[in-house]
Amino acid sequence: MSTPLLEATGLFKSYPAVKVLKNVNLTVAGGDTFAIIGPNGAGKTTLFKVLSGELFPDSGQVAHEGRDVTTVPAWQRVRLGFGRSFQVARVFSDLTTEDNVVVSVEAHRRNAGLGQRRPLAWAPTAEVREGVMETLREVGLVDKRRVVARLLSHGDKKRLELAMCLALQPKILMLDEPTAGMSPADRKSATELLAMVKERHGMTIVLTEHDMDVVFGLATKVAVLHYGEIVAQGAPDAVRKDPLVRDIYLGHGGAGAGHA
């Protein structure tokens, strides 16, 4: 690996009362599934937001393919190939499932410079509809394409949000707690879905996650955040065996599974 896809060096971030990030360094290589784990309050979400561009660090640098993107706002990073899902799935709740994806596909086509052939037609073009159906099929929401998103189940909303991200054909998929609030069964199928998506598209995934089954089922690399510092980083097995990690983090939760 020459230039890492995403690299953070010396990130610091403080809120008035607390230092949230203290000298965070991490390297995400192309093709990685990179999981950021850590106990509640460790600064996972803050780190995630700094990486996605919703927050800017007080100091330090975030580089994308070698280019400094530290202060590039989130929506501009989308054009660099970032796709972002939220902890509580955010979809356009008054649009149908299908239209949610239509908007995403059209946004992607517009940003990629793929014009509409018939600018006066109001309905989505055939290419757009094709892309939409393919994405819906991939996440298993074809049957529910005419349902208004507000009426979808929690798990389906997460699927829909993933579909919206996939429609952007991202190079880096940023998932904030992709299985938060799911039942164990939903969690399992969501993990399988993510593994399948990853295999088909081969994009890089950066995720935060509570559930260790999900983490060790998906991740090719794990970083452990503890009080704003990275205490371990590397392959899942190595991290799992790290005595420091076992002591301060996994040790409390028992056998490394379940919620930390």
Partner: protein, 329 residues
């Protein structure tokens, strides 16, 4: 609007819209002059309401100053038609709309970047007061007395020339152009751009994370709505043959908001239905001093408190009850 199960099919809605237009066109044959005059005004107010909801219901922008564009369009047309009578009237009408769109684009460029929600609303209110004060004290625009003697133009169409001052010609002209303008708003709403507007209305941050340039689309919505509103204002001048600063007053800006809420904010035709309902309400109570406002206010309150979906929302619920639950998703 999405064909949600409680709504009529697209074909049926198109039929209803055509029926409505046919009724407007047939009106001069069956009603007296007073009603026809009212109907022309209502047609323009219907479109005016639609343009406000393009911003609010579709894009999530609340403007308290929409009437300023109606007024600017109206005065700009009146002034230009007098100063440059040789220009084709259709061009003058379009020019008035373009002027409004350009002003909105300029204003929005600053205003939308810096302010949202209630700030944007109050900012548009301040700007509309400025427009009101400038019109009220500008000698060229007739000050408080109004811009008088606005003529209904002759319309050269190449093969023939229609004198819009004759008979009910201008009324038909208003109805046809209003339908055209409503069509433009309908098209914008249902196009790719309209889908983006709706996405922004529901969750601007999520939209930004799809790579949608939220500010640019908000600006587009504001400019299109203001431009079309400007054309309705331009059409109104020759209809009344006088324009007074009252058309720019903030209470005039409240009208499209009332139409929208009364008709149903979640429905494309909501504001149009609301404008129609409002006119009926006002016409029915016009001779009663004070009672007219009380009744109007009470009905609005009832809509807000008891039927927040407006008239069309109530109709949709009724349809749902009749057609049964199996159509629910």
């Amino acid at each position: 609007m999405e064909p949600s199960p409680a709504q009529a099919s697209p074909l049926m809605r198109f039929g209803l819209a055509m029926l409505c237009m046919a009724a407007f066109l047939a009106l001069p044959g069956i009603a007296d002059k007073g009603i026809v005059f009212l109907a022309g005004t209502v047609a323009l107010q219907m479109v005016f309401g639609l343009t406000w909801n393009l911003m609010f219901g579709q894009t999530g922008l609340v403007s308290f100053g929409h009437a300023s564009f109606f007024a600017v369009g109206g005065y700009a047309y009146a002034y230009a038609a007098r100063a440059l009578p040789q220009v084709h009237p259709l061009l003058t009408f379009a020019g008035a709309g373009l002027l409004c769109a350009a002003i909105a684009a300029l204003v929005g460029l600053i205003a939308l970047r810096r302010s949202q929600g209630v700030y944007f609303a109050i900012l548009t209110l301040a700007l509309s007061q400025i427009v009101y004060l400038v019109i009220s004290s500008s000698a060229a625009l007739g000050r408080e007395d109004g811009f008088t003697g606005i003529r209904r133009p002759k319309l050269p169409l190449g093969w023939t020339t229609i004198d819009l001052a004759a008979g009910n010609a201008y009324y038909y002209f208003i109805v046809v152009v209003s339908a055209l303008l409503a069509g433009i708003v309908w098209w914008v709403t249902h196009s790719r751009v309209g889908r983006v507007f709706r996405a922004i209305q529901q969750d601007p941050e999520r939209a930004a994370f799809l790579g949608i340039p939220v500010q640019r689309y908000r600006l587009m919505s504001y400019a299109i709505a203001s431009g079309v509103a400007g054309v309705t204002g331009a059409l109104f001048g020759p209809w009344l043959q006088i324009l007074t600063p009252e058309v720019a007053h903030w209470t005039a800006s409240a009208r499209p908001i009332l139409y929208t809420l009364l008709g149903g904010v979640h429905f494309f035709w909501g504001p149009a239905v609301g404008a129609l309902g409002f006119a009926v309400l006002e016409y029915g109570t016009r001779t009663l001093h004070g009672i007219s406002e009380i009744v109007t206010g009470a009905i609005l309150l009832a809509v807000v408190l008891a039927a927040p979906g407006g008239i069309l929302g109530a109709v949709a619920r009724l349809r749902q009850r009749i057609t049964g639950k199996e159509r629910r998703p």
